[in-house]
């Protein structure tokens, strides 16, 4: 459909730095075609069950749930086109030249939903709470990247980082930036937020109803209330949407996007954000020869994977920065079955692909198995249940593994998988040159030099091939065509919608 390559990624990555240096004042990419009317209710179906609404729970930072999290805990930063970030609740976020000291400025008059002021003291207390392991926060690791916080006044503070991080803004678009009160809670015992909605009803694992926050410091929400229903079954969500039982659903099921596009009563709001890769365990002797890894890459027809698994709705990717912008060629091995056969048939290779057990992942793994089989490789698929999949990867208890993730929504994703000590480096890849380039890029807010470094990293990864790049599949929302104000998601790399902008069109 539309293919974006690394150059835009790098331009976008560069933009992050530029934006970070300049006082950020633009608003997120929202191109509402029609203005929504005031009032009304909305029912949204989420794809997972929430046992709590406390932001410490990692579920609230996951892409499908951000529409709810944003309603209650408007994050400091918001995603914009091409993997950049602009202020959300914040007024600005600026870095020094080393990307080690970040100055946050809050607008005047921001309040929590009980009307109490949200100041820089609140931000500091919130981050200290997340850093405490007893909070069981999924953002504890991110909070640990901050070495100290210095408060200048009620609206200005400085974050000093343990190490330079030019992508620090991205952290403030999720849990770290969803500021909650450490002194006041709502009627359910959850720390108060400063979003445009407040919790009215909550049944754990079933539903949440939020109503307009009458003390909201910004533009009030259009809708009176939103009910979020937790519906893990994808078919049931879509059927509920078709029957009018719900108005907006989260989905990553490609066939549902395709079906919705043919239905005039529905509108699709999605973007290719779920990147799939095939990780090769470099500690396994089967993959120690780069010639074999190159042949494996040549044996995989990524266009065919996109056509079969994503029904053409996604894009192919060839680097960690592919989502971030427009076309620049990375020297990634092209599909060449004959060349692959010459190497792989001689190698007599057989291995297993460990994959999470979602239907789409298994389908993709099956497509890979067929393609690699054509090149003379014997592949077995090992499905692993979601909760133990992360531990399996962390313990490197796999030969090859399929990883589907949204961490490549900004430039920090490259570091997470390619740095030798990074938390998502499951392949055991270690290249001093790449480590150095990534460290230098993290410390740079200078666009051209950072762009050049990240291009070099991409090319080095395409040469060393610790992981084989596949596709980015669509994820997002399908809703009633009568909804207005749903932002244009097509340029976004992280689907994060602020529901305060959504409402119904006038009849």
């Amino acid at each position: 459909m539309f293919r974006r390559r690394a150059s835009t990624a790098l331009i976008a990555a560069a933009l992050i730095g530029t934006l970070a240096l300049s006082a950020c004042s633009s608003s997120p990419a929202t191109s509402a075609v029609t203005e929504p009317i005031d009032g009304g209710t909305l029912t949204v179906a989420l794809d997972r069950e929430l046992p709590t609404l406390d932001v410490t729970n990692g579920l609230l930072a996951q892409q499908p749930v951000l529409i709810l999290s944003n309603a209650l805990y408007e994050p400091l930063m918001a995603p914009a086109a091409g993997g950049t970030f602009t202020p959300g609740l914040a007024k600005s976020l600026e870095s020094d030249e080393t990307a080690s000291h970040w100055t946050l400025t809050l607008p005047d008059g921001v309040t929590f939903s009980d009307g109490s002021p949200l100041t820089t003291e609140s931000v500091k207390a919130h981050i200290e709470r997340l850093a405490n392991p007893e909070s069981k926060s999924s953002a504890a690791g991110q909070a640990a990247q901050i070495s100290s916080m210095t408060i200048t006044d009620d609206t200005t503070m400085v974050f000093d980082l343990v190490a330079p991080n030019a992508d620090f803004a991205s952290l403030l678009a999720r849990t770290l930036g969803m500021i909650t009160s450490t002194t006041a809670t709502d009627k359910f015992g959850f720390p108060l937020g400063a979003g445009p909605f407040v919790v009215d009803e909550f049944t754990p694992g079933d539903s949440v109803t939020v109503v307009r926050n009458e003390n909201y410091w910004g533009e009030p929400a259009a809708l009176d209330s939103i009910t979020f229903r937790m519906m893990p079954d994808a078919d049931s969500r879509f059927q509920s949407l078709q029957s009018g039982d719900v108005d907006l659903i989260w989905t990553e099921v490609t066939s549902q996007f395709e079906q919705a596009r043919t239905d005039d009563s529905l509108a699709v709001h999605a973007a290719p954000t779920a990147v799939s890769t095939l990780l090769l365990n470099l500690k396994n002797p089967k993959f120690e020869d780069v010639t074999v890894r190159t042949a494996l890459a040549q044996a995989i027809d990524r266009d065919a994977v996109n056509a079969v698994v994503n029904l053409g709705e996604g894009i192919t990717v060839d680097s960690p920065y592919s989502l971030l912008g427009d076309a620049q060629d990375i020297d990634y091995p092209k599909y060449d079955l004959d060349a692959a056969k010459k190497v792989l048939e001689k190698a007599g290779l057989s291995f297993s692909i460990t994959s999470d057990n979602s239907p789409d992942s298994i389908q993709r793994a099956t497509a890979l198995k067929d393609m690699l089989g054509d090149a003379g490789v014997q592949v077995d698929i090992v499905p692993v249940e979601g909760a133990s999949f992360g531990s399996t990867l962390a313990a490197r208890e796999f030969e090859a593994a399929q990883l589907v993730t949204s961490i490549f929504s900004d430039a920090s994703g490259g570091s997470l998988v390619a740095k030798s000590t990074a938390s998502y480096n499951f392949t055991g890849y270690a290249n001093d040159q790449v480590d150095t380039m990534l460290a230098e890029a993290s410390a740079l807010t200078d666009s051209p030099e950072r762009t050049e470094l990240l291009t070099d990293v991409s090319n080095q990864l395409a040469t060393d091939l610790p992981m084989l790049w596949l596709t980015a599949s669509n994820a997002g929302l399908i809703g009633s065509a009568k909804l207005a104000g749903v932002p244009d998601l097509s340029g976004l790399t992280l689907i994060s919608v602020q529901p305060a902008q959504i409402g119904w069109v006038s009849e």
């Binding site: 690791g141 079933d206 893990p232 509920s240 909760a387």
Partner: protein
């Protein structure tokens, strides 16, 4: 005689203790680190170790067993890792939805099954019997989630008669509750009814061959009198045993139907707890389900012995 229930109670308690001991091994047996699931991939090992200590995951199996069983006896089933709420509260909050779904589906299944099975048995090889036999085989062959999807497509999407999914507590809005329960109850009831129908039909055919059935016919009993007063009771042992097992197992959670129709029951609680490696909730749900199975096993035995005294004498 007064204390005849004691051995049974003792065996039941032993079963529950064994299950409690086994569930305490989940922290070792289940793959996946709860601390990693909670803190995320970007957490440090030091942070995960601190959390493991806070959650008691570094206790040995004996310590965990003593803590868990001691807690159960004092009403403290532990605290959910993810919600921070007491486990018993989590479980009990999910019981009404599952109980309503299971009980209504049993009522529907029995209401449809009993007359069909009896009349089918009375006319073996007849048109109704052939239709019923084919229908039950078809229903047994089709998985309940497929039935559920088809039912939603027909009644919610195409006809728009019923809401597609969701749950409203009966006390909050009885009409909406019943409207939302129709399709899940049908889906579950159909699957169970097919099994009951096969069992009751077979038992009724046997009963109809018994001398007392001939005697009733000779005395001029109508079909209705024969089937409902002479055949149903002696044919019910297998059906009651099946209903007892089904009730017990279903109350532990009817996952597929709960997921498909977005009903916040015990099945969904179990799955989400497994996904989050919420060990206290997993332990609690397993023990709760075991208690239900034991309890319904006892109740079923009592009911069968009352309805069919032959079972006490080893005749059937």
């Amino acid at each position: 005689m007064t204390f005849a229930w004691l051995p049974r109670a003792g065996r039941s308690l032993l079963v529950l203790i064994v299950i409690a001991a086994l569930t305490c091994q989940l922290a070792i047996v289940l793959p996946g680190d709860p601390a990693l699931v909670l803190l995320g991939q970007e957490s440090t090992e030091a942070q995960r170790a601190a959390l493991r200590h806070t959650l008691g995951l570094d206790q040995n199996a004996v310590e965990r067993f003593v803590t868990f069983v001691g807690g159960v006896f004092t009403g403290d089933w532990g605290t959910s890792f993810t919600s921070g709420r007491p486990v018993l509260t989590e479980i009990l909050s999910r019981v009404p939805a599952t109980a309503e779904l299971v009980i209504l589906s049993q009522i529907v299944a029995l209401a449809v099954t009993i007359p069909l099975a009896l009349h089918s048995a009375r006319n073996v090889g007849g048109r109704l019997d052939r239709l019923v036999s084919t229908g039950t085989f078809l229903l047994l062959a089709v998985p309940s989630f497929v039935v559920g999807i088809l039912v939603i497509q027909l009644f919610a999407v195409q006809l728009g008669w019923l809401p597609a999914s969701g749950y409203t507590p009966f006390t909050e809005n009885p009409l909406d509750n019943l409207a939302r329960m129709v399709m899940p109850v049908l889906t579950l009831g159909i699957a169970e009814g097919a099994v009951y129908l096969r069992a009751l039909r077979g038992a009724a055919i046997e009963s109809l061959r018994a001398p007392y059935a001939y005697a009733s016919i000779v005395r001029g009993a109508s079909d209705r009198q024969l089937l409902w007063w002479r055949i149903l009771r002696p044919s019910s042992s297998t059906l009651l045993a099946l209903v007892g097992i089904s009730l017990a197992v279903s109350l532990g959670g009817t996952l597929l139907v709960e997921s498909l129709f977005a009903i916040p029951g015990l099945g969904r609680l179990t799955v989400s707890a497994l996904g989050a490696r919420d060990l206290p909730v997993i332990q609690g749900v397993v023990l709760f389900a075991a208690m239900i199975v034991v309890l319904f096993g006892i109740i079923t035995d009592i009911v069968i012995s009352r309805i069919d005294p032959r079972s006490n004498r080893g005749i059937v």
